[in-house]
Structure formats: structure tokens, C-alpha cells
Symmetry: C2
Subunit: 201 residues, 2 copies
Amino acid sequence: MIDWKINPSFNRLVAELGKFPGVGKKTATRLALFVLRQPDAEAEALAEAIREMKARTRFCSICFHYTEDDPCPVCTDPARDAELLCVVQEPQDLMAVERSRSYRGRYHVLHGALSPLDGIGPAQLKIAELMARLADGSVREVLLATNFSVEGEATAHYLASLIRPLGIRVSRLAHGIPMGSDLEYVDDATVNRAVEGRQTI
Amino acid sequence: MIDWKINPSFNRLVAELGKFPGVGKKTATRLALFVLRQPDAEAEALAEAIREMKARTRFCSICFHYTEDDPCPVCTDPARDAELLCVVQEPQDLMAVERSRSYRGRYHVLHGALSPLDGIGPAQLKIAELMARLADGSVREVLLATNFSVEGEATAHYLASLIRPLGIRVSRLAHGIPMGSDLEYVDDATVNRAVEGRQTI
């Protein structure tokens, strides 16, 4: 057999691509073969895009989202409602809220959720930075958009207990039936919450 | 909303990763976020692996498989049976045969299959090069391992018609029941071929 170690540079790329989440050896090989078949300029563009993105992207010193400019365009956008702050676990959660086109306030990225068993306490998250932002009284409402997991819920409750004493309204994303779902296939707990949270139309 | 164009370098990487086969915008975003979260050295290793693989890999001038050295280690391996030649459509087909650990001969990569409607005739494939390899009479058997598609079958038949007159044995991969299959779920045509090709045990 061909020992692919005889083609070390191909092997190395397969190994690097195999580090991506959800990419096994077979997919990594397929991706590496794709790169191999592409014109040199295309492969160079990919390599350069990786380098440039890493070199240019940092965290916004206000909201801790990824940005090329600090502060980020969201934090400096005068059209955004500065009295409304949405707290999320990760940058991709912020991107999900943005995609919904339903929110025009600002953000704060915690970079995780409380998880004592994993050694993640308040000091490991951007919580002190959040409280500092709230200290001047300019924020009217904090929307806690952490995940509906054990860790996300614990984090939301912890933050609510810190923020409520400041006289700031604390809200949470609504539970309910996902859009387009058949009631028949929605889990009982979700239907339960949707009934409890029913709205007059 | 955040227009991701405000983070052009991130956007560019998503676009580049989105060119991979089977990678949509959502997956590309997930992969780009993974790169973003990695240490700089890891991202640099990936970028460098892409560059190096492209710079070092070429086609073997004998078998037309990818290689870093020309001729490739398979073509120069004295332990390989030089009288046996396996013809495949693409380098990944060669890799599949190698993985089966069932073959100890040499290879010839056609880089495609005959497809008149797509403008792919004999001149677009490495067929002249194959015939030149067979001209000295040192090859005893050619195993046609093109795909069992219309194009692959047409290519195999075309090659067989060229090679048989040289007095060289021409063989084809066996059809039959895939290993571990339940007969019940195998398509009729495959069962048919497996019965016709039955072997004494």
C-alpha cells in the first residue's frame, strides 16, 4: 500500500483539517484533495484568508465580540438603543440574535457560562466587565440570552440576582413552539411553557 | 443587525471555506469561528500546511498520481509487481484500492472518464500515456478499476478494446454483494450479478 507518510505535506494538511469540529479523517482527506485540485491562486487565497482573519480580528474592549476595529461597529453605532443590552454566552449566539433581525440594542459576550464542575466561575467570564457597564445607570433593560441549558440557566439566574438590585429590568428569551412546528412533534415541556405563556391575539 | 461585511476578513474566510465541496455558509461560519478561537500558531500551521502541500505536490510523470517526488514511490518501489497495472479515474480511487490492502501492482490515473457530452474524449485523459506504458510488453494484466457509472463503464470498454489486441489480459473489479450487507436490502441488479458470478467454496 501507499503509506501516505510518503506524501508528508498532504498528510500534514489532512491532520490540520482533521482538527476542525465534526471533520473526521475521511472528510479531511476529501477537503485536502479539493485544495490539491484547485489552482494555486485559490489555495493561496484560502491560506491568506486564514492568516489575515487571525491577524485582524480581536475582541471589542466594550462588548467582547469579535471585531476588526475596537470599539466594534455595534458598540459605536449611534442608531443602536444604548439602553438595551443583550447578554450572550458566545459570539455565535450574538450572530444568531442578529440574524433574527429582531433586536436593535447592544450586546455583551460572556465567553462561556457558569460551570463549577469545569472550573468556570464568575471570574472566568466577562461578568465584572458587564457590571462595570451597568454601573452608570444608562441601561434600562438587560435581556439574558444565555442558552436554555443547565449552565446557561444557572448563569442567567446568577446575573439576574446581581442586576435586579440595580433597578434594571431583567428579561429572558421567551419559551414556546418553534416556528413552523407541528404541535404533535413538540416536546411536552415546550408545549407546557407555550400554554403558560399564551398571548391574546 | 451586524452586517458581517463590517468584519471583512472574517467574511472572506467564510467565503473561501464555503468553496469546499459540501460546505455551506453555516458550516463555513462554524469552521471560521473555530479558526478564530484557535491559538495563532494553530491557524498559522493550517495556512502553512495548505501552502506547503500545494508547493510540494505534483503529478508523477509515470502514473499521474499525486506525489512529492517524481517518479512517485509506488512507481519506483521494487517490491511492487510491475506486470500488473490498475487503471483508475482519480487519485482518490487509487487511495481506495490501496486502503483495501488487496493489490500489490502499480497504477495509472486517467484523471477522468470518457464523457462526450461534457467534451471529455480520449485526448482529455491520460490514455496515450497509458498505451505508451503498455508498449514495451512488460505488463501482463491491466485491471480496469474505473467507476461502475455510465462514464466509467464506457471508459473501461474503450480501454479494453485498445488493450486486448496487445495480448494483455484485461480484468475488471468484481460485482457482488457488499461485505456485511443484508441480502434483503441489496438491489436486484447486484444480487443478479452476485448469482452469476458465484464461486465454489
